[in-house]
């Protein structure tokens, strides 16, 4: 069974530094990592490979430094990895991204399953997976918290928070997974060192028969500004009251602020 996993070398949002005057994050030199939920997708692909055989191929669209992310995915157990270099320095939207990924998948051949994370930790649009399924003309099974392959069929549990659906379809299909589906393994050093010897290539969008200009034109959404949301604490301190009275006052304040009903 051949599985392709789309990963993003996303901004590590927990490590972002904020410029205090403009309240915008400093993106230059900001640390990046394989988006957490994409790592779950890689882990799930490797688990399926271990069970059913075949190979796991990683595809990413991003900056040249994303080779670090590819190595991480290879260390988890993927077999090959491909990076399509982003000519726009991160300005293309999810529509253009899915055009690039679809072209990359077509160039790489036939896959039984395409896996994605349900969203990336930085943009969190949840759009690339569904768009990609549409472009490839295959069924989309989103928010999977469990994946079972049986012959040429796949069954997933689709997590809808208050309930879940069980969906079944014939392969090939595209599945977007949730964080809950598994715990990605921590690769030991030997797997990290072996990852460097696995097949890994960097392509340009032109290698996929695309052009930077056309991609810019098909990119319909532009990010004009990124602002940090400030959540200021109220700093209310209830002083010098016996516990019962202080609790009463606290409850009243919470009701007033609509925190309690």
């Amino acid at each position: 069974m051949n599985i392709l996993v789309c990963v993003k070398y996303a901004l590590d949002v927990t490590e972002l530094r904020i410029d205090p005057s403009s309240k915008t994050p400093t993106l230059q030199g900001a640390p990046r990592k394989v988006s957490d939920i994409d790592k779950n997708a890689v882990e799930e692909a490797v688990v399926l490979k271990e069970k059913h055989g075949g190979k796991v191929v990683i595809l990413t669209f991003g900056p040249k430094e994303a080779t670090g992310g590819l190595k991480e995915a290879l260390a988890i157990g993927a077999d090959e990895a491909y990076l399509v270099e982003d000519p726009s320095n991160g300005l293309l939207d999810t529509r253009a991204t899915s055009i690039v990924l679809a072209a990359g998948i077509k160039k790489l051949g036939n896959f039984d399953l395409i896996l994605c994370g349900e969203a990336t930790v930085d943009g969190f649009s949840s759009q690339v997976g569904p768009r990609l399924a549409e472009k490839l003309g295959i069924p989309l099974l989103s928010y999977a918290r469990k994946v079972v392959v049986n012959g040429d069929e796949v069954t997933v549990e689709r997590d809808l928070e208050d309930r879940y659906e069980v969906l079944k379809t014939k392969l090939p299909a595209l599945i977007s997974v949730t964080r809950e589906i598994n715990t990605p393994r921590i690769p030991p050093l030997m797997a990290i060192l072996k990852a460097s010897k696995k097949k890994s290539e960097i392509w340009k969008v032109e290698d996929l028969g695309l052009s930077s200009d056309e991609l810019s034109k098909s990119s319909s959404v532009q990010i004009s500004e990124i602002q940090v949301l400030e959540s200021k604490r109220k700093g209310v301190i209830i002083k010098d009251k016996p516990p019962a009275e202080a609790a009463e006052e606290l409850v009243n304040l919470l009701i007033k602020d609509k925190c309690l009903g």
Binding site: G68, K71, E72, I186, P187, P188, L189, I192, L193
Partner: protein
């Protein structure tokens, strides 16, 4: 010149950090308090490839570098600042690496895979009751009888004495013994395996010390009485033990420094978090220059510590792994010694200052800082070189031996 870690090194650091967050950070205070040996954890650490990092894959190791061993040790000590687990880990990297460099093929094939899979232990035993710094005064005697050595004598302040006896396979120490006349020229290294294939060897009599820190690691001693060792366990040539040991001490000093670096970085991070929250006289205490300027002093020293550790590790890899013709083994003396002096010294200074920032709370057992202070203090006393010995080495190599007598 390139100050960037490679992609593999960065991924490895992240992987160790994640492993430590899941497995070590939640348990270290209790381990230290109850003085429990984390033997189950060591099985998981071995599976993660954290023992024998620079040991070649044909001996069961990961085939990494000494730089990678330092990265792992820095992260493990950040998660376990009392340094019991880091010390166990640095021993399980530095001394197996020494055996790989100088041991016989047969001994390497037997011992190294056991160390790497976590069922065995291999460390260092040089110190005797007369002191650890005076290696030339070592008394433990080894006499050759046919293909065997018969050992008699005593070693003290040796790490892992209880662990060796409890591990499934066993293990022992890279042990410096007297095979020739008096002085430094009569010494040979022999691997003393206290336990092999699950059986304690005859003639091995352990003793224990109770230390003031790093409760998750044992320190003891052992007495050997007519203890038989096959010649295949000799490490290097007969009567060349001193020069082999000095080279291996250089490697060990670097990994010791890496462990102290992790603990020191943790302590300073604790301090920085605290001074930004603690208020006195209506101000955060970080806003007093008496505090913030000390933070700046310590940060500079910690940054220097990082540079000393990784420069020495980089150089060790150039010499021992890549056989870089630009360097000789002697070039490592000063960088490795500076690292072993500077980092534990800085580490102690950071703990003592940060403990003051914490005030009375820092003096309570509720605050875990003192555990790191006591644990790392062992490296200010000795182990891989007492401070004055380290200064002597630096002075000897930079002024010239004939000028300092």
């Amino acid at each position: 010149m390139d100050f960037k870690f490679s992609e593999e090194e960065k991924i490895f650091r992240e992987s160790v950090r994640e492993f430590c967050q899941n497995n070590i950070a939640p348990m270290w205070v209790e381990m230290d308090e109850k003085r429990e040996l984390p033997l189950d954890l060591y099985k998981r650490m071995a599976a993660q490839g954290l023992f024998g990092i620079p040991v070649k894959p044909e001996y069961g190791g990961s085939g990494g570098t000494l730089t990678m061993a330092c990265i792992a040790l820095e992260e493990i000590a950040y998660a376990e600042p009392s340094v019991a687990i880091p010390v166990y880990t640095l021993l399980q990297n530095g001394w197996p690496y020494a055996l790989q460099l100088f041991g016989s093929e047969e001994a390497k094939q037997e011992i190294l895979p056991k160390v790497c899979d976590g069922t065995g232990f291999y460390s260092i035993a040089t110190t005797e009751t007369q002191g650890g710094s005076d290696l030339a005064g070592i008394k433990m005697a080894a006499a050759k009888h046919g293909d065997k050595w018969i050992l008699n004598g005593e070693k003290v302040y040796i790490s892992g004495v209880e662990e060796v006896q409890k591990l499934d396979w066993g293990g022992g120490w890279f042990t410096l013994v007297r095979t020739g006349g008096s002085g430094a020229q009569g010494l040979t290294v022999i691997s003393v395996l206290a336990k092999r294939d699950g059986k304690i060897a005859e003639g091995f009599e352990p003793s224990m010390f109770e230390e003031i820190g790093r409760g998750g690691l044992t320190t003891g001693g052992f007495k050997l009485t007519d203890f038989e060792v096959e010649d295949k366990y000799r490490v290097g040539e007969v009567n060349k033990g001193m020069s082999i040991s000095l080279q291996c001490f250089n490697l060990a000093r670097i990994v010791v420094a890496a462990a102290c670096l992790g603990s020191a970085r943790w302590a300073l991070d604790q301090g920085i978090d605290y001074i930004k929250q603690r208020k006195l006289f209506g101000r955060m205490i970080s806003s007093f220059q008496g505090i913030s300027f000390r933070e700046a002093d310590l940060y500079m020293k910690l940054e220097a510590a990082k540079l000393f550790v990784y420069k020495a590790a980089w150089l060790a890899d150039r010499i021992y792994l890549y056989n870089d013709p630009d360097f000789s083994v002697y070039d490592l003396n000063v960088p490795a010694t500076i690292a072993k002096y500077w980092v534990p010294d800085t580490c102690a200074e950071i703990y003592q200052e940060v403990l003051k920032w914490f005030g009375a709370y820092g003096y309570t057992k509720e605050c875990p800082l003192y555990r790191g202070w006591l644990g790392t203090w062992s490296y200010n006393i000795g182990a891989e070189g007492a401070m004055n010995v380290l200064k002597y080495i630096i002075a000897r190599d930079t002024i010239g031996k004939e000028y300092i007598k």
